[in-house]
């Protein structure tokens, strides 16, 4: 066993020239895909719970389709199809943002569907008895509670999403992992680079999941 790390590899240069740029994209991608994914996921969930076949069926096909294909293949599909459809090339970064939003919408929709179904039917009836429209009922009564019940699960999914952003490697987008990889290649120190990447991902994901656990406890007490 011999692990003689070149500690001089870890310096401000590495962080400022390679890591920060990639980390920035990883975080932006996670943020946009989470917000967009929850938005479109909620729409998909509402479609599946609408009881209207013409809304339910396409949403079901979309969600189950996305969930049975590997994310890497979805990334490749969008990178191939989006430029074909809009007729001009787009960068790997934009393509990744579109892909992750579309892909995560399928997973978030399953979470939101469970959340909406966890609200007792009586709440909906009470809202209707007050004369609320479908939109008001959803916006003011059901969704806030569903969202709150599902917050820990949504956040856990966001951690998974953050880990999955490393897969943009497939189309060469510049994320955090890519930053470390490029730095490792430039300085001929791949071992140090990948180790640092693993440590950084671990610290961020472990820290986030620790926060999620605390939120979970807090919500559980109030309820």
């Amino acid at each position: 066993m011999n692990l003689a790390l070149d500690w001089s590899f870890y310096n401000w240069d590495l962080i400022s020239n390679f890591v920060l740029k990639g980390l920035g994209f990883s975080l932006v991608l996670t943020l946009i895909a989470t917000v967009g994914g929850i938005f479109f996921g909620t729409l998909l969930a509402l479609m599946r719970l609408s009881g209207q076949k013409w809304l339910d069926l396409p949403a079901t096909i979309y969600v189950n389709g996305m969930r049975s294909i590997p994310l890497v293949m979805v990334i490749l599909w969008f990178f191939l199809l989006v430029p074909m459809i809009i007729g001009r090339p787009i960068g790997a970064e934009i393509s990744a943002i579109i892909t992750f939003t579309a892909f995560e919408a399928a997973y978030f929709s399953e979470i939101m569907r469970a959340g909406i179904q966890s609200i007792p039917r009586g709440q909906v009836f009470a809202g209707q008895a007050l004369g609320m429209s479908y939109g008001q009922n959803m916006r003011l009564v059901v969704l806030p509670q569903a969202f709150r019940n599902m917050l820990p699960v949504l956040l856990t999914q966001t951690i998974i999403l953050f880990q999955d952003t490393s897969l943009v490697y497939a189309i060469g987008a510049y994320d955090m992992l890519k930053g470390f990889e490029v730095a490792g290649k430039n300085y001929g120190r791949p071992v140090e680079a990948y180790l640092a990447a693993a440590v950084l991902y671990f610290v961020m994901c472990y820290g986030l999941s620790w926060i999620v656990k605390r939120i979970h406890k807090k919500i559980a007490i109030i309820r």
Binding site: P70, L71, W77, A198, Y201, C205
Partner: protein, 251 residues
């Protein structure tokens, strides 16, 4: 856009159509190549699944051992470690970092390293399932077994695990399907599986849509096959007279 499914019958070297679509005398067509890539996907996934089940079961049991805080701590650390690092980064760790630490591993093929990475990555999730399965059992089961004079090994072997494993078949099904999907990450270290095939052939032939459609279809067929097999396993392993665990609320 016109379809060109004929390309699957082309020779991979000369790009000429081969009658019958399967290459002869050592030549291969894109169809041959795709089927072999599917074989790699299946082999990576099944071997990783074996490793994940074995190590996940051990770690999951460790986390439920009574009066053994260090075993529980080790189990928890194992799960947190493999769960909080992205799979792709773990594959790079196995591929670049581990052989640098243990030079003896330099000659090990990328295939084996990917199996190890995917297997241990999934073991953390399976350990979590096994633990929750054991904890979902009524406490009286363990106590009854102990009162019968069973050793700890016997308590797990004859009482807890047979019950717990039946409860967790549904989550294990989705983990098995996840392994197949996650095996696509092996492209990053050039294992010749389906995703690698899709990327390479897309570049060689420019027929991206056809290639991706075929590969995606194979992934969906694989997922469906696992689903059916696991449903069969669940049916075969059901204890007559016992209600379905899910209906009983995990109790």
């Amino acid at each position: 856009m016109a379809w060109d499914w004929q390309m699957f019958c082309e020779d991979t070297l000369e790009r000429t159509a081969v009658p019958g679509c399967f290459g002869k005398d050592g030549d291969i067509t894109y169809l041959d190549w795709m089927l072999s890539a599917w074989g790699w996907t299946v082999s990576v996934s099944l071997l990783a699944l074996l490793l994940a089940l074995a190590s996940g079961m051990i770690v999951g049991v460790l986390r439920t051992l009574p009066n053994n805080p260090w075993a529980v701590r080790f189990g928890n650390a194992w799960v947190e470690f493999f769960r909080n690092i992205p799979l792709l980064v773990q594959i790079f760790l196995w591929y670049h970092v581990i052989p640098a630490i243990f030079p003896a591993l330099k000659s090990v093929s990328g295939f084996i390293l990917v199996v190890l990475a995917l297997g241990f990555f999934t073991s953390a999730r399976i350990a979590e399932q096994v633990r929750s399965g054991i904890e979902a059992l009524p406490r009286g089961q363990r106590h009854a077994a102990m009162a019968m004079g069973f050793t700890t090994w016997q308590v797990y072997r004859y009482v807890l695990l047979p019950n717990a494993l039946r409860i967790i078949i549904p989550p294990l099904t989705s983990e098995t399907m996840n392994i197949f999907k996650n095996s696509s990450v092996a492209f990053a270290v050039s294992v010749a599986e389906l995703t690698m095939y899709a990327m390479q052939v897309q570049e060689e032939t420019g027929r991206g849509v056809e290639v991706y459609l075929a590969v995606t279809g194979l992934y969906i067929i694989s997922a469906f096959a696992i689903n059916r097999i696991m449903a069969w396993v669940e049916k075969r392993s059901r204890v007559p007279g016992l209600a379905a665990p899910s209906a009983a609320g995990g109790h």
